[in-house]
Symmetry: C2
Subunit: 292 residues, 2 copies
Amino acid sequence: MADRQALAFTGSRLDRADNLRADPDALAGMMNWKARLLALDGLMPGMDENGGLVWSTLADAAEDAELVFLGLDDGKPCFAAVPPEGDSRPRMANPQLWSLMATLRPDDLALYGGARSVTDWHARHRHCAACGGSTRIVKGGWQRDCANCGAQHFPRTDPVTIMLVEHDGRLLLGRGLGWPERAYSALAGFVEPGESIEEGVAREVLEETGVVVRDVTYIASQPWPFPSQLMIGCHSYTDSDAITLDETELADARWFARDEIAAAMAGEEGAPINTPPAQAIAHHLLDWWLTR
Amino acid sequence: MADRQALAFTGSRLDRADNLRADPDALAGMMNWKARLLALDGLMPGMDENGGLVWSTLADAAEDAELVFLGLDDGKPCFAAVPPEGDSRPRMANPQLWSLMATLRPDDLALYGGARSVTDWHARHRHCAACGGSTRIVKGGWQRDCANCGAQHFPRTDPVTIMLVEHDGRLLLGRGLGWPERAYSALAGFVEPGESIEEGVAREVLEETGVVVRDVTYIASQPWPFPSQLMIGCHSYTDSDAITLDETELADARWFARDEIAAAMAGEEGAPINTPPAQAIAHHLLDWWLTR
């Protein structure tokens, strides 16, 4: 898929330099006037006139701020501060963020996505899930340790399957509860403990629509920082197009012909639905399906 | 890969019946004398003379046991109890478990793997990571809620990439720190927030061996319940076989020819290395590579 637009939130130029994380002296040595601090208002980034992220220096961090070492950008150490305790602003993608996602330089968007997921994880993990004690940041922000029981905790990434289901040249798309009337996208759901990617795809489609899939194949993946998913995009087939909707999960699910999806993806006025924005892997999957 | 042995820990016959999880009346209605309780000693299962898991009834659960609804087995509700507080037995795979993994019926092994990951997650999440308050089991064990701040917590699954790296018909395999002298396997590592599967593969191989990969493709996936990984098996190529070992991660990494790997997989006496056991996805990847 080299000739297709790269997926949003991929392509960060940072060297994560994981060998430095476990070296307290190296970490301390990087926290100097040359280090860059990602400008964040809570979890919201700034953008300069060139579509790049805004940076300042560690002098701008709060005295007691927890700092995450993001990696090296052309040799320069980059950090981000964990939002202060008590900052309870919502963490879902908002209209301002969707606008940023369309305008930020792709490599900066990827850098921001990773920084957002990790700093947000720290903000929600100031205590130990095992004993309730206070945790403290270690290894440059890639671990938290419990000061009470010593348990180690690591940033979380949740695998989610998102899948095209094909029958007789048509695709099954769904409309989530509360979505706009014409908004349809690929079905999706979290992979649960005890199942493979392929089993997760089959279970989700069956649960939400009653459709039995076969021949699940992997297409592409994307990190999605709201708060920290790994989107795993797949394709599958089914031998029966009968739908039994789970109305607690979806407002609607329907089969769409190739020309309907092509019209929607082209943004044509007469298109029957609106497909997901270019930043979402669902858009990428539909594009793959139309042009493969 | 339909003609190849299924991956261990896949193929559970349970219907997870997620629609019942959110229905307290339905859950309560299933907790009767017909319900089955998975026999567990801590996290260790029992095995009957037919290679199946051992079950009892809810009457055998401790009065204050937290019960996870695993799903329906041919219509019969199946539960597992969370290990009691203070049970600090180690959670890694032990020799007894490896023996069980080789002898339990495949669908029972898959059922056990999922049950183990979820009950173990509960045992390690009795407190809220956000505020430290006590959490309580809800939705049949597929969620915990904080009694203090109301935060919702969900069972965790950690995506891990595990990859073959190919150069000129040879494969790059590594020996972990503390592994037996002849034990070699595919490189592997956790997917971090802010990267795709393909980016995770490239970063891990570069970190551990200095090798730059290209053309990463997905091969297969497997849940691995120690404690709860999603193993994502990939293949890649490199244009240079120069290795720079990260000695904090690996004891060794070397290139192996096809006949060396074939001899090891066949268990031949003269084989230069030992390859991973059949239950591991690394074995499956090597088998795929030899026979594709």
